[in-house]
Chain length 214, copies 2
């Protein structure tokens, strides 16, 4: 059985849940409470020396880490339905859209960074929120421009089926909403996010639907 | 002709230069001075609404962005020599190692984030350097653990040929050295980095070898 070590509010775990659901794969969940630091416990460091979630233990007993690497693995191992288009230029577009989230927005706003800002740099709550919203705005402006300028955009980030780009987008929109970011300047992002959230694979991956949600 | 819009010290452009060199591809360079903000000029925003480097204009005239997406594109279009192993579990390992750098270290330490820390949060030079070194230490500790614990490691991050993981590692080591980070706790990272830097593909991609180096 496949097991996902995650946390209901982790964006990266959320991505992997969507990918698993889109592929129609069954999996067990083993939640680690990031707020309580369970990801840094010895047992998890043995599993994932990065002290991060998610880790996916495959049905073959192999431990995989890094959400984007896990999604690409799932796509290579279970090709249907595809998370990336067939054409290599289109694949590059989808990966680039995914990476705007995964390499430009999320790394700056995840829990360990916010904790570091408060704990080490001593910033107050207002400054922390401004930091959060700044990187959302920078990244979503870029993403909105790409999605409106490029012909590849359809009901979803690329065409009319969900891809790796949507898998990254939806958890980032969820987080932006949680931090009460103003998303009115990003109508395409909102439209695509709504289309995704109408699908069971995304609904069942949502943080509030997880066993450790509280 | 393929054209790379980059900057000699940009980690992300450095990655793409290594990938192009490993594939033996000729390319023109069009440098944008990030310190002077040239990446935010209208002409570059038309090319890349993210206001970032690198962008790669392919020989077919297609504009690609996001360094990791570009490297995967190059690997799919020009399969030899491969940047990823054939086995899907091994591919996942290489991508995960690459993403420790590309999703956990580099996004926190790139120029626009350092500028934001100083300009918006008003941190002093010492705090900025401490921030830089903190994320290098966090990420390199994780990477060193993975590289020493996992059997896949060889002369390079995975086996005895350079892969996407090495393409990410070397620019990050270069940056860490530039910011005078203490790397003595990471002997495996140092060993692999030295092996990479002995290869012409890496040497010719180094910042100091670029036309805009000063």
């Amino acid at each position: 059985m496949t097991t996902l070590y995650g946390y209901f509010r982790s964006s990266a775990a959320y991505r992997v849940r969507i990918a698993l659901n889109l592929k129609g794969l069954a999996y067990d969940q083993a939640p680690l409470n990031l707020v309580q630091g369970e990801q840094l416990a010895e047992t998890n460091l043995a599993r994932n020396p990065q002290g991060l979630v998610p880790s996916l233990i495959t049905d073959e007993g192999v431990t995989l880490t890094q959400s984007m690497a896990i999604c690409e693995y799932l796509d290579e191992r279970y090709p249907e339905p595809p998370l990336l288009p067939e054409d290599i230029t289109e694949r590059a577009r989808v990966r680039a859209l995914a990476q705007v989230v995964a390499c430009e927005i999320h790394p700056l706003n995840n829990l360990r960074v916010l904790k570091h800002l408060v704990g080490e740099l001593g910033v107050d709550e207002e400054t922390k929120l401004a930091w959060y919203r700044h990187w959302i705005a920078e990244g979503f402006q870029a993403l909105e421009s790409l999605l409106t300028a490029e012909a590849g955009t359809g009901d979803f980030c690329h065409g009319d089926t969900p891809s790796l780009a949507d898998i990254c987008l939806v958890p980032q929109v969820y987080n932006a909403e949680r931090f009460e970011c103003d998303l009115s300047a990003y109508p395409t992002i909102q439209r695509i996010s709504a289309n995704c959230r109408a699908l069971p694979a995304f609904q069942q991956a949502a943080p509030e639907a997880q066993p450790d949600a509280r």
